[in-house]
Symmetry: C2
Subunit: 718 residues, 2 copies
């Protein structure tokens, strides 16, 4: 399993990040909105709270525990963000950091060589000087928070709605000024969809080194079959160390290792960086997702999973080539099914605003109406297909699913957009994004001809199927596709005859600009060029009808609600630091199976044996060899009711004493609808128990140096 | 792999049979028509010819070989049909019969015990007395053919179109009379959609015993990944023996074992029982299949394959429970993709009749028009769904996919239909079908609660997705489904609270008739009852608009064409004996790979090694142990251009000398569109080479007795 695959294996890589790093195939339309409209009647353990507005009352009421300023500050400063990957925490005064193995996977991959694969073999630095520097890895700690709502709101109001240029410049200046003052990295955060603006100042560690990571076969034990499931047995943990001036950073606020375990019903906190939630979505918007978006997304995912699996089963080499794509599709599929199940559950709809809501004010109704209309217009089927569908097929390129097409599209647009003034370009071609975009174009990642043909054949076949062939017929009539060839033959022709798999050719076209593109006879370039105008048209229509319209309506709704309720409610997740409270608690499966909240080491070995130790249920040799030494009753994974979502990966699970008792790495299948609604009944946060980390460090990895640094011993935990 | 699964693994179990034995989920609408309208400009190797009207001219013209009466009679009488399973041939004067392992799988399964699994371990009767009787197995040989067109046509014309009762009685009498005369089993065959009627008289062997079968791991080497593919390495062969009066039957016409191998380009024949083709379908009907039927079928297959796989991967027990369903879905999926690919290939459309055909006569046009209109009406989307879709969801029960629902539906209808006079009942509840229907109701096949919940959850979820929720909303509004539960919760409730998994309860309801059904509180019975009226309505609409209408139009078209062309063309396949000619020939894959026509034993071991001998690429121990003794250059499987389809499984591949040189067991992926059109370019028939059977019998299975009976030795073949 490569880093890419591991990255997407779990829920808790932020969805936002996925979109940035993965292909555009699975852009989840719902994620583009970060809204704040939330019903004020909250469930006891609901909420991803701001540290500057913590759930003090809620925790007091439900658990009779007082969240003190001191406790909050300590936890906030011990928490950190692994840039572009997830969450983490400090666990020693010498800069030791704990996060998930799957959050560290990118770095493990980067440090690996074909001969020395750290994902497969794991890593442990026996001595301090063996710790290995991870290029580009940055760790953020939220040091200061300032409310800048008034001045930002004033600047916004003074600015034109259309460009936002001046208020953006204002924000940039504000951030820079604060950065100069503090020496920290500063960022203005939009909360409550513009109801509030807070300035967050981060201390950033840029010298971060790898200390320990177990083998992936125990970190991701159970693989895709166990993903989002419980009982679970994953040692999804890894350790880094922050350095300053070439020496381990001195850390005042770190989490002590909790060795007392956790009790059933015990109050626990998660301090981390949830990515995106959409709890303000209206009834009609959720219906659109349930009836239009998810069915179509799942149709695509189902067919791809089947075809990728079938291709992979033909040979071991095929299996290797398709592994990342297949893993990614399986992860998305599982998540989409979980989310759709939530949307199909009537209880999810309680308290959701509807355009037909009789109790809502006219102003609120108007906005809900605007959203309902936009959804209606997107999903309405006319002559076989909807605007939503055409946008997905044409502009998102889902009908031409291949890296070759994506390169062609980017090259064609880059040539055209480069000729325009910066502010008139499509956002992804503006100056600030160009370096990354060009680097991606020249990436030397392997592209396999047969995989490209497989993907393009399937997506063109899908295009022909859509709306009883109308989409396909349109492409033929417009002359985009030849009329005398089957999807398979077209795919074969386009891929085999395209030279875009060659980095040098992409560079030539990139450097050659519009002239090179116009003169190119590469069939994929010619094709991408031919559909570009129509594709841009549908994008504009989509952005105008849907994105701009609904965003404006949600902003308005959020402001109306914020005026009423202020900070009595928590804002939707924004990939910034939040605190969630909850309790250690099992749950009842749909089939009435009672799920105990904590698993143990014996359970892992039993699960492996029941699968005859076949992958992905085959623990590493080190665990087989060390089995006798291990305490089989030692706790492995646990579930709790904390309200979490993608981005929370690597967050510490903390007890009332402020000690680390676990490490969040996943949510169960029921937690997938956390995107839209939180429910305590079955939705659970899944963590690695602190005990198993200590047991493994001591008995399997003989990491005495680290155990000593944690200030505990394995025997202490008994 | 159980018998059920093995049965559906390959193309060449007749599709008709599949429909009868498998769940109704995948009823392929196209199969209900057996039509004859075929363009007279045939490709050189095209055609599934009647023995009474053989391709003498075609073979002479293309291969300069004269098909003599003698040759034809010999081949016809050496060919046989394995009732309800496939084709076969006699290969010794003592009643020895060769067919496919997958054709024999049902009997191997029936003869197995948990301790002695013949599918897994294979079987060889060292002595004659060790041969094991297969209960219920019947072998048919076509002894006599008589043209009864005139008298049957006259009886048909004299009868009313609506019931056909009298002409059916006339046919039954005719068959009985002939049976009494000849002592054979007689059957009137409808050819050219009523253009001709032939009376076929079969000698039937009812005492049939198992002689030899290899292990399934070599018979089905490569499993699903290699299904419909080539190069291939399957010893898909088994031998039975026909007995008469407790002794081996004396057989005059049998195929001598061909030991000279085959040459590239050599003329070869297939004599077997192709099930169904639809080569007369009009352009508009094929468009309906391409744009409506197959996309929807594949949508269902894709989602099921993903969910069944994911369920299976959770534990070995799950894997065992879902294996048959998964194997079946994978087989259907592969076939549907192949057929759709054919339909999406423009060359398929050449020569197909269209309603807008300018050269067609008015009479022909009118019928083509009627078909086009029926298809249009079926597929037209109104308020989110089409008649075709509602029929599939409601009447075929695809929205309630579970054995529990199928039992409930049958019990509910049986109670109602039993109260009607025989001729007014739905066909499947008429007297002639009742015994089999009741036996199926009381079958003690295991039904797993969790598998039922999985299937029902998925299909109810699909119902909610369909047409943006309109189908689901309709079910809620009509009160068929509760409004406050998610598909998952409903599925859970229906399955867990239904007692229909218990045979005794089904018997009680079956015996209790209408009263028992009305008083039942079983949620699935209540549900099946609630939707029955609407379900019957849509069935009636479907049957009237589509089935009756198109059948009548095709019959008319076929008659018009038969009047013009007579027997210059071959009739569509009807599961009766046909002769196909062709040549041994490789082909070029879409990706330009050249495929050689013959594989060898070395290739099998190489393919196993390249998969690290992982299932399904792990040959049995007997082959590993015997490897050194084997001639690695010995031919294994081969491809030829013969025109074949489902039902041809087990057919002999015969050279011009009338010797058996191979055993048909599959078609390649391109042959899947043989249903609609035959093409020589890539479509290939796949056979086990005679050489590998002999080599394996001699060196692996030490079957000296059999080799001697075949009149050859392994060394002779070199």
């Amino acid at each position: 399993m490569s880093a890419d695959r591991a990255e997407v294996r779990c829920l808790f890589i932020s969805e936002k990040e996925l979109i940035m790093t993965k292909s555009r195939c699975f852009l989840f339309v719902a994620l583009i909105f970060c809204t704040a409209l939330t019903s004020v009647s909250l469930r006891a353990d609901e909420g991803m709270w701001l540290f500057e507005n913590p759930p003090t009352q809620q925790v007091k009421a439900a658990y009779d525990f007082a969240l003190t300023e001191e406790w909050l500050e300590h936890v906030r400063l011990a928490s950190c963000r692994v840039a572009r990957r997830g969450s983490a925490s400090f666990i020693s005064p010498n800069g030791l950091i704990l996060t998930n193995h799957h959050v560290a996977a990118h770095d493990l991959h980067a440090l690996s060589t074909p001969e020395d694969n750290l994902l497969e073999k794991g890593f442990y630095a026996e001595k301090l000087e063996d710790e290995r520097k991870c290029p580009g890895l940055e760790i953020f700690v939220l040091e200061k928070i300032e409310d800048v709502t008034e001045i930002v709101s004033a600047a916004k109001e003074a600015d034109s709605i259309k460009t936002g240029t001046r208020s953006n410049a204002f924000i940039a200046q504000l951030e820079q000024k604060k950065a100069n003052e503090t020496g920290l990295r500063c960022e203005v955060i939009t909360l409550y969809q513009g109801g509030a603006y807070h300035l967050y100042c981060y201390k950033v560690y840029t010298d971060v080194r790898l200390v320990w990571a177990p083998e992936e076969s125990i970190a991701a034990f159970g693989g895709d079959p166990d993903n989002y499931e419980f009982p679970r047995y994953c040692l999804d943990a890894a350790m880094f160390r922050a350095y300053e001036n070439g020496k381990p950073a001195k850390i005042e606020h770190y989490l002590k290792w909790g060795t007392g375990g956790v009790k059933d019903g015990e109050l626990v906190f998660v301090s981390g960086h949830p990515g995106t939630t959409n709890r303000a979505f209206t009834k009609e918007h959720l219906e659109f997702l349930r009836d239009v978006h998810f069915p179509w997304l799942l149709q695509k995912l189902f067919r791809r999973e089947v075809l990728y699996s079938a291709y992979g089963n033909r040979s071991l080499e095929n299996q290797r080539r398709i592994a990342d794509d297949l893993g990614s599709v399986q992860n998305y599929r599982k998540r989409a099914i979980g989310q759709l199940d939530g949307l199909q559950t009537p209880t999810l709809w309680e308290g959701k605003l509807s355009a037909s809501d009789e109790n809502a004010s006219d102003a609120v109704k108007n906005n809900a109406d605007a959203i309902a209309e936009a959804c209606q217009e997107m999903g309405e089927i006319d002559d076989g297909f909807s605007t939503y569908l055409v946008h997905d097929l044409l502009e998102k390129g889902e009908a031409f699913n291949s890296q070759t097409f994506r390169y062609a599209r980017t090259l064609v647009r880059l040539a055209e957009e480069s000729q325009k003034p910066n502010e008139e370009r499509l956002p992804e071609y503006r100056d600030g994004n160009l370096a990354a975009l060009k680097a991606a174009l020249l990436s030397d990642t392997s592209i396999y001809e047969d995989v490209e043909v497989l993907k393009l054949t399937d997506s063109l076949t899908m295009l022909q199927e859509v709306g009883q062939g109308t989409a396909w017929n349109a492409c033929i009539e417009e002359g985009f596709l030849p009329s005398d060839m089957s999807p398979k033959t077209i795919a074969q022709y386009f891929i085999v005859h395209s030279k875009l798999r060659d980095v040098a050719e992409r560079k030539r076209l990139m450097d050659g600009g519009a002239e090179a593109i116009e003169n190119s006879e590469d069939p994929m370039i010619v094709f991408a060029l031919s559909i570009d105008e129509q594709s841009r048209d549908i994008r504009q229509m989509y952005d105008e009808i849907f994105t701009a319209f609904t965003t404006a309506a949600y902003t308005e709704l959020a402001r109306q609600r914020f005026t009423e309720q202020g900070t009595d409610v928590y804002p939707d997740a924004t990939l910034t630091l939040r605190l969630s409270h909850g309790k250690v608690q099992g749950y009842t499966e749909d089939d009435d199976t009672e799920i105990e909240p904590v698993t143990n080491i014996a359970g892992m070995f039993e699960r492996a044996a029941s699968h005859k130790n076949r992958e992905p249920f085959d623990p590493p040799q080190s665990w087989k060899d060390g089995k006798a030494a291990l305490d089989e009753n030692c706790a492995f994974n646990l579930v709790s009711t904390n309200d979490i979502i993608g981005g929370n990966s690597g967050s510490p699970l903390i007890n009332t004493k402020g000690e680390l008792v676990g490490l969040v790495f996943d949510g169960n299948i029921y937690s997938l609808s956390n995107n839209f609604v939180y429910s305590e009944e079955q939705s659970r946060c899944v963590s690695v128990h602190a005990d198993v980390v200590l047991e493994a460090l001591t008995k399997i990895y003989k990491a005495e140096r680290i155990v000593k640094e944690l200030g505990v011993t394995a025997t202490q935990q008994q």
